[in-house]
Amino acid sequence: MQRLVVKKDQYRDSVSLMQLSLELKEGAGLEEAFVAMGVPANREILAKMGISKDQLDGVGPNDLLIALLAEDDASIEKALLAIPALMEGTCAQPEGGEAYQPRTLEQALRQLPQANLVLISNPGPYASGEARRALEKGLHVMIFSDNVPLEEEIALKKLAQQRGLLLMGPDCGTALLNGKPLCFANVVPSGAIGIVGASGTGIQEVSCAIARLGEGVSQAIGTGGRDLSREVGGLMVAEGIKALAQDSQTQVIVVISKPPAPEVAKRVTDQLVSCGKPSVVCFIGEKQQSNEGTLWFAGSLAMAASSAVALRRGETPGPLIQDDNLLERIATEETSGMSEKQRFLRGLYTGGTLADEAICLLEQEVGPIYSNIHKEKEFQLTDPTRSRENTIIDLGDDYFTRGKPHPMIDPSGRATRMIEEAEDPEVAVLLLDLVLGYGSHPDPAGAIYSAVTGAKEAARARGGHLAVIASITGTAGDPQGLQRQRETLERAGCRVMASNWEAATLVERILQDRAVRS
């Protein structure tokens, strides 16, 4: 059964609608629920759901569309009844707070005259207008929205620079300012290490590792993924480093990014070398571990965190220490039950930077890794829904998130994919990330629990054993609770490693073992 309801002129924020779609689908037990504004892209998605073009006649971008697929009419009726309450929920008022939600920035400032940051997650085409207004009023800005044109990003960042303001983003998912987590961020103790990152999950992984090693973060400034491109030229990374260099609380500065354009990289490292504070830079995928004066290059996010912690304690950063005996023991345990055929890795990631890092760490040791995000065309999957040989998938990539929530918010897509991968008798290892913190699903481990047990059961039924290896990016202070998440995964039979690097190292051992046997 399918049903389409059109509500004229009822604008809603698209991200809140995604959450609504998810709640609706889970709550009413539907096959599919899609609540969205009637923009052309969404109409195409509806067409794929089997909604005919005629039903969408006269639908405009300000009209709210509710499309439901279910086994029977009763479920659809039930879902339709639930919608008003769910919509109310998205407009919940703070307790004892100001009930009125202002429509204009002027009015918002009247209600919160001391406001110093504007957080923007409205649709990309409108985000830069709001950002400009905020900067002109002397407010720092974080843009979570993507789809902001590059030239607008450059103009906004130049304006911010002139005014001595932060312009984090666009497409900035993570920041920690004055100890407060913004958007997708973990609850990390306050400390002396300052971070500037062009990657959200990169900042999350490093800040959680710092917390695990007993230190804390002064500030983590997100810049958006394009900041270190040739066009933007690292405007905000430079501003971030400058501010952290001036900040009395910050003793060590960490910069995290995918490998930037060479001339931009040079500017960043020059600035770090001369900033007067010890620093660490991690250009994900560049494996060299070296130093240039007070600047240390880290080959992994885990290394970046451990180097920063060492510098903070006045020590010289050394290589990451791993318990070889323990790794060996785990690898032996995991491989002992495997069948002859089992030799490949399938990595299913929700964090793009973590996927990227895993690819870089593993491909030098175990040979080609196929991926939907591989830099080299040769190793790009033609169909991201079909893995081959050793594959690592970034499920947060546009291909999977068009019209759908990000897998950190809705892990159901990954659970499905895990079961699919387990059907392949050549698969030996599933490698997973689990990102906790604000913004993420309230129980990501619980959401894949039955997928882990199911996948393992499928391998066992064939007379083999499937290793499932995960790392958790999180802290004890996160709303989901690091310990609880770890226990859930371990109960399901997962090997839970402390970092993405450590998980990759374990995978490397297992794959090498399998290669020897085959």
């Binding site: 009125y100 919160l112 649709p123 300012l177 913004g439």
Partner: protein, 482 residues
């Protein structure tokens, strides 16, 4: 400023978009204001980007300052012919922007016929209609004669009027006396009892009130409205408190007049029986306050919003005497039993002058008794008023809303804020039957048509856009830069 300054401050966030981000921050004890963001309205693109040859903000400061400093005082009761500037026996004033007999709606036509019969210019309905259509009678807006009138607003030579003076600036405004409820001229009724009642008002009520005011002396209406707001009025759809306060003021003097007690009793009984008595005083109060701001060079503040049942019209302080009109809307509201939207006339009356000055819908939060008209709950009323702060330039210093912590009412509508926010002024209003003479059939909420604001903006830009020096060419500097 520099980024490092932020690090010492406590984080306070305005959140535009995904509400869960705000909830997360609140959980971390960060003060957050969640915005109710919506895409810009169609036709508002580029508003405010054209360079101007005047300082608009400064001009608006001056205009709204003149509005807020206004001190409306009731000085007496006279007749239209005696006091309204430019009044003639063959001139009928009406509500709303200019309109011809041919385009008038039912209630407006009925009121004109009634006015002709009342003035004795014709003896029958047919003759009256013929006279109205003949061109022998001129029709002009009340607004162009320092006057305002509720609903049809028809004002003729012999009608008694309240005289209200703005003590700060010396200008005056006039308004007829309210006729009460039921079948009345302002809703287009003209049957013999209606005309008889108008005669009683002209011959008994008007003179008694005129004498009473002579004994009483000037009455501060600004203070009286302030009181009424604290007593549950909003100055437009609810005038019960204002009416009561007025009677309290007048009664001690009224009873001392050398007029038969029976007549005095009739006057008091009439004032008491009609909750809308005070509407005809809050309207001219608003009118004379706004007129004082009219003509401030460069100001984009509205000095008029009004309707004639066919068109809605607005005027700007910085473009004096120019009307920007568009077809009037249907009122959304509650209907008396037996009536529905299909019976309703389109939006009509000068009473939206109260909203223009910061009363009525703008003060809705002060009037929980009538929230059914705007959605049903006191919360709806609060939200409505709070929304109006987004499109206004200032808050009243005299008129306060207890439910909002005695915040001043939102005052001085700015054309630019309306366009950029996409928020239209909310107007409380009565609903007239579309046929003459049936009367009021409900009350509710109405908004001006968006087009008025767009055409006003175009005219404003044409008038005030910066020009290239010397050659008189009106090309925009911005275009030249591109």
């Amino acid at each position: 400023m520099s980024v490092v300054d932020l690090f010492g401050q406590s984080l306070q966030v305005i959140n535009i978009g995904l509400e869960s981000f705000a909830q997360n921050l609140r959980q971390e004890r960060v003060p957050v204001v969640q915005m109710d963001w919506r895409p810009p309205a169609a036709g508002a693109e580029g508003v405010g980007e054209t360079p101007l040859r005047i300082d608009r903000k400064q001009a608006n400061r001056e205009a709204v300052d003149r509005l807020l400093r206004g001190l409306p005082v009731l000085t007496g009761v006279s007749t239209a012919g005696a006091v309204i500037p430019g009044m003639r026996k063959d001139l009928f004033l009406h509500a709303g922007p200019p309109i011809s007999w041919e385009r008038m709606c039912g209630p407006m036509r009925g009121a004109v016929i009634g006015g002709i019969l009342f003035e004795g210019l014709a003896a029958s309905e047919e003759d009256a209609e013929q006279l109205a259509a003949s061109g022998a009678i001129a029709f002009e807006p009340c607004h162009e004669h320092d006057a305002v009138g509720p609903m049809a607003g028809v004002t003729t030579w012999s009608m008694p009027v309240w005289v209200v003076e703005n003590r700060t600036f010396g200008n005056r405004a006039y308004c007829t006396l309210n006729e009460g409820l039921g079948k009345v001229l302002r809703y287009g009724a003209y049957a013999p009892p209606v005309i008889e009642h108008l005669r009683w008002m002209a011959e008994e009520l008007g003179p008694v009130l005129a004498l009473t005011m002579e004994r009483h002396g000037p009455l501060d209406l600004r203070a009286l409205i302030a009181q009424a707001l604290q007593m549950g009025d909003e100055g437009h759809n609810r005038s019960r408190a204002g009416t009561s306060l007025l009677i309290r003021e007048l009664a001690p003097e009224l009873v001392r007049l050398k007029v038969k007690r029976k007549k005095l009793s009739e006057v008091l009984r009439f004032l008491h029986s009609n909750d809308h008595t005070f509407l005809n005083l809050s309207m001219p109060s608003a009118k004379c306050m706004l007129d004082a701001a009219n003509g401030v060079e460069g100001s984009s503040m509205l000095v008029t919003m009004t309707r004639n049942g066919t068109d809605f019209g607005i005027r700007l302080a910085g473009l004096p005497e120019r009307w920007f009109t568009a077809p009037a809307n249907l009122v959304r509201g509650l209907y008396f039993p037996g009536y529905s939207e299909s019976d309703a006339a389109l939006d009509i009356g000068d009473s939206a002058i109260t909203e223009t000055a910061g009363l009525g819908g703008f003060a809705m939060a002060a009037a929980p008794a009538i929230v059914q008209f705007v959605g049903g709950t006191p919360q709806d009323a609060l939200r409505l008023t709070q929304e109006m702060y987004e499109i206004t330039l200032a808050e009243s210093q005299s008129w306060q809303i207890p439910n909002l912590g005695f915040r001043g009412t939102p005052s001085g509508i700015d054309l630019f804020r309306v366009l950029t926010s996409g928020i239209l002024p909310s107007i409380n209003t009565g609903i007239a039957h579309k046929d003459p003479g049936v009367g009021m059939i409900g009350a509710g909420l109405v908004q001006p048509p968006w087009n008025c604001f767009q055409s006003a903006y175009q005219a404003y830009v044409q008038q005030y856009a910066a020009t290239l020096s010397g050659n008189g060419d009106n090309q925009r500097i911005k275009e030249e830069k591109q």
